[in-house]
Symmetry: C2
Subunit: 329 residues, 2 copies
Amino acid sequence: MTSTRATLSQVAERAGVSLASTSRALHGTGASREMVERVRAAAAELGYSVDAVGRSLRMKKTFQVAFAVADIGNPVYVEMMRAIHEVLAPHGYRVVVMTTGDTTTSTVELVHSLNSGFVDGMVISPLRTDDWLIREIQQAPVPVVVIGRALDDHGISSVSTDSAGGIGQAVGHLRAIGRGRIGFVNGPLDTTPGEARQRGFDAAVRGVGAEVAEDFTVAAGLVAARRLLTRELDAVVAANDLLAIGVIHAARELGLRVPEDVAVTGMDDTEIGRVFYPSLTSVSLGSTERGRAAADLMLRLAEGAEQEAQQVVVGPTLIVRESTVRSGQ
Amino acid sequence: MTSTRATLSQVAERAGVSLASTSRALHGTGASREMVERVRAAAAELGYSVDAVGRSLRMKKTFQVAFAVADIGNPVYVEMMRAIHEVLAPHGYRVVVMTTGDTTTSTVELVHSLNSGFVDGMVISPLRTDDWLIREIQQAPVPVVVIGRALDDHGISSVSTDSAGGIGQAVGHLRAIGRGRIGFVNGPLDTTPGEARQRGFDAAVRGVGAEVAEDFTVAAGLVAARRLLTRELDAVVAANDLLAIGVIHAARELGLRVPEDVAVTGMDDTEIGRVFYPSLTSVSLGSTERGRAAADLMLRLAEGAEQEAQQVVVGPTLIVRESTVRSGQ
């Protein structure tokens, strides 16, 4: 008698509410009483399997997924978060955003906190991924998907990108527009992005100099760029958009025009870079695509449709704007 | 035999770890096994009351506090979040950030989800606060502190500001620098900030026009400003920094110089406004102070030190930068 079972979508349609609301109402995770009654009535009419609901309750599903990032103020994470939300919300999951803190210890503590069972899984984008963190992730009681380093050999699902190759694209563009004296402003070298981007720069060009900012922020980029711009150069590759904005501010202090005197590239293709003046030439690392891929992996793991760890790699794309090529207007 | 009890701080000092880690280790909310053993040893040496720990466990404290906002991409919320984190972290609480969604229904559902017991309290900054939401907050099983409308008469702790008065400060500044034809770009009027800021503008000046953007974003501000700038004016008050950036982009499209032809003010004094070019004159509504005040209220409620609802009001402060007064350099 299990044939022609009603689906969740059919219940949602009958109740006249969203899939997410239907799922939450049936699972008792945060719907109003009115909503619960309406959805249960629709489920009863359609003979929607109560078993499925019972199973979820026994599993103590929370229908919450954590997204943990190093710096909630970095717009690249905002775009990832939106993409994760868009994938998970129709399935009834809420996304809760948490900070990993700056250190491996705080990141490990956060992963360890999954034991308290407040979420069904975690998507995490750590700045640094060492053996300690990898061990903690392997032992986590719920699925964890990493956005950052590829972790093929550790049995952990991950979404990575090729930021070294992306820096190569930025350098190639600067050479193509005739810039030959190229400097680099990077973030901390002991981080996953800092290491990869330095490698990419060193492989692409014999630069006229490189400075390491204390952090991947505008303020730190400004300080590092003041040092870098004492050298004679006609272009600066910055390791992300926030650093690039710091570089442009330093150039303005020195009376240098961007892009005429110094062309500047960023990385991450963020909203702040797009609305900045001049708008930033930037290497997109597909933050939306990476967020979406991580959420897809999480969904399959959380719903038990997938057991094996999987790896996804999203490639870089250069987007040319005013900070390297002045528009004709 | 309860005299001269050791405090949590003394345990932390003896264990040589932070207060937050000590608290988490003792409460079993996300410390590594190594950390738990170390802290328990220190607690045992000092005779730290195990009762206190037992009490917390019986209370099923999660040592998590939710911060719920309408748009996680708005930098004003990032600053509040940092302030909340700074107040709560030393007491062992994690902050989890959630989105309210755009509608009252989604906001109500979020407050209702507190019944699942995943946090000890919630700081919420809703775009709209109607009776339905107020009732849901009053019935919440854990403390809720609202950043937004003052809710004195409803027995709800709230942190509010005077954004109408802040718009008045922006208009006063524009007049003081000789601008007489002032337009306004606001966000949706059915929101708490939209309503207050419109009221502030109408009270301060007989403007040459006002346009309502679809949302409090750069993109929506650009569209609204294209309409507004068809009028002859020499200044625009924008209802927040993101809208102000949209206004400046619209002015550039029309070949208008900022601030020479059109002076532009924002509101919220955000990081993006500070690093923008030209940097934004903006009315600070004390996002850091409001976040800190809300977290203080939450802490007192969550720890049972306070039962009564309290109200805090943080005043506005105008900060003058390049978008209204070109610097001498």
